[in-house]
Amino acid sequence: MVDGNPFAKALELILGLDQVLVGIVTLSLQVSLTAVLTAALLGLPIGAAVALYRFPGRALVVTVLNALMGLPPVVAGLAVYLLLSRAGPLGSWGLLFTPTAMVIAQTMLVFPIIAALSRQVVEDLWEEYREQLQSLGASRLRAIPTLLWDARFSLLTGVLAGFGRASAEVGAVLIVGGNIDGVTRVMTTAIALETSKGNLPLALGLGIVLLFLVAMVNATAFLIGEGAKRRLG
């Protein structure tokens, strides 16, 4: 099927901006970035609210959030599959095997990471800020955006960790997306498929791009954290 050195071929695909490869990478980024953005918009304020308010069942909520950080992607995929399948409660929406379904599944995976981190970071910060903010006249509700903003650098690290998880998982997008060529095929599902087919250059090419992206995300998180510490104290 393929002759020559698969590495050389893979680099050729990347440097030549191979159409198939670029399409898969683009879809991957679209799905994962949308999922992370959604999870952040929900998770940051919800985590902060759990940190600041006392309500019955709060300990359970915190435990569940922490436990869900380790939610296996295939289980998240299965849950979304059951929701969206023809017979499921949201079956009429016709979302199964679309990128939207993949966004929903990855949001489920990333939300607990961001919400749990937000809860932890904001709770620690509230400990330090509580009296001063109360003295200045801030209600708990008003304190939430203030605390999120002051914790922005720690939280960004968590959001980027969430992106790492979303872009690297294969189980959830495979189940709810179906790995349909040109429609729902993303980097991880394509790597799994192409490897099993023996198409090593494309699998390797995608693998290299994926590694590069994950490394970039981690480097960005590190640099932002360090830079902020130095500049803002």
Binding site: Q134, S135, L136, G137, A138, T146, W149, L232
Partner: protein
């Protein structure tokens, strides 16, 4: 700045039979006192006497386990009108991770002041405390003395009727301490009621109009400063002034 005097609707503060218990321990026991319209009250006493606690109760950060804290016209500590006209400077100021200027604008925004007016008021306060050149610097990288001055400027911008200071100089060097003491006098000159905790006997002598002496959660004396330092009426206060250990 708007220097128009506000109608007197906050003071006097009446603390009546206030106790505070935490985890089965009585930290303040049946404290009663009255803070009049003007002057500088200094709260003194050994560690663990309940000085900071009493201040937090008066400021409304904590609620008493028993007794009542009433402002003028019987207004409760939780009354928004009451809360909005006080300010507190803490031992270690908490500044937000934004510029010095924005740190002052923040509580003004909480009070619903318009943006343009906020900036003007904040700049005036910075200038008054010699911090104008630092307006755009991140507040968290300022020195300890500058941070405390910024906290004072923030309180200044709020134009409080009463200012609480909880050991504001205990972490500062002599120059920064003098700046804080000057600021306290400036607040006082503007008609702000001052309530301050300190461990520093010299500072208390320099600033106090009257002294509230606390020991083991009880008020032992509340007298004019001159009388407190010259002829304390309790052996605990006498020992404290001589610099002996009191418990």
């Amino acid at each position: 700045m708007n220097d128009k005097p506000l109608p007197e609707t906050l003071l006097p503060l009446e603390v009546d039979g206030v106790s505070f218990r935490h985890r089965g321990q009585t930290l303040l026991d049946d404290v009663s006192l009255r803070l009049g319209h003007s002057g500088k009250t200094v709260i003194m006493g050994p560690n663990g006497a309940g000085k900071s606690l009493l201040m937090r109760l008066c400021h409304g950060l904590l609620s008493p386990s028993a007794g009542s804290i009433r402002w003028a016209d019987g207004k409760a500590a939780s009354d928004p009108d009451v809360r909005g006209r006080q300010a507190m400077v803490f031992q270690r100021p908490v500044l937000l991770r934004r510029s010095a200027l924005s740190n002052i604008r923040y509580p003004l925004a909480l009070r619903g002041m318009r943006r343009q007016q906020r900036t003007q008021r904040a700049l005036d306060a910075l200038r008054h405390f010699g911090l104008a050149e630092l307006a755009d610097r991140p507040a968290r990288v300022l020195s300890g003395g500058e941070q405390q001055r910024l906290a004072l400027a923030r309180a200044w911008a709020l134009q409080p009727r009463i200012l609480f200071l909880d050991e504001p100089t205990s972490a500062l060097d002599p120059a920064a301490t003098k700046a804080v003491e000057d600021a306290v006098r400036a607040f006082h000159a503007k008609g702000t009621r001052i309530v301050m905790n300190t461990h520093d006997l010299g500072q208390a002598r320099r600033l106090a109009d009257d002294v509230l002496f606390l020991c083991r959660g009880r008020v032992l004396e509340h007298t004019p400063a001159g009388r407190f330092f010259d002829t304390p009426s309790t052996p605990e206060a006498a020992a404290f002034i001589r610099g002996e250990l009191v418990w």
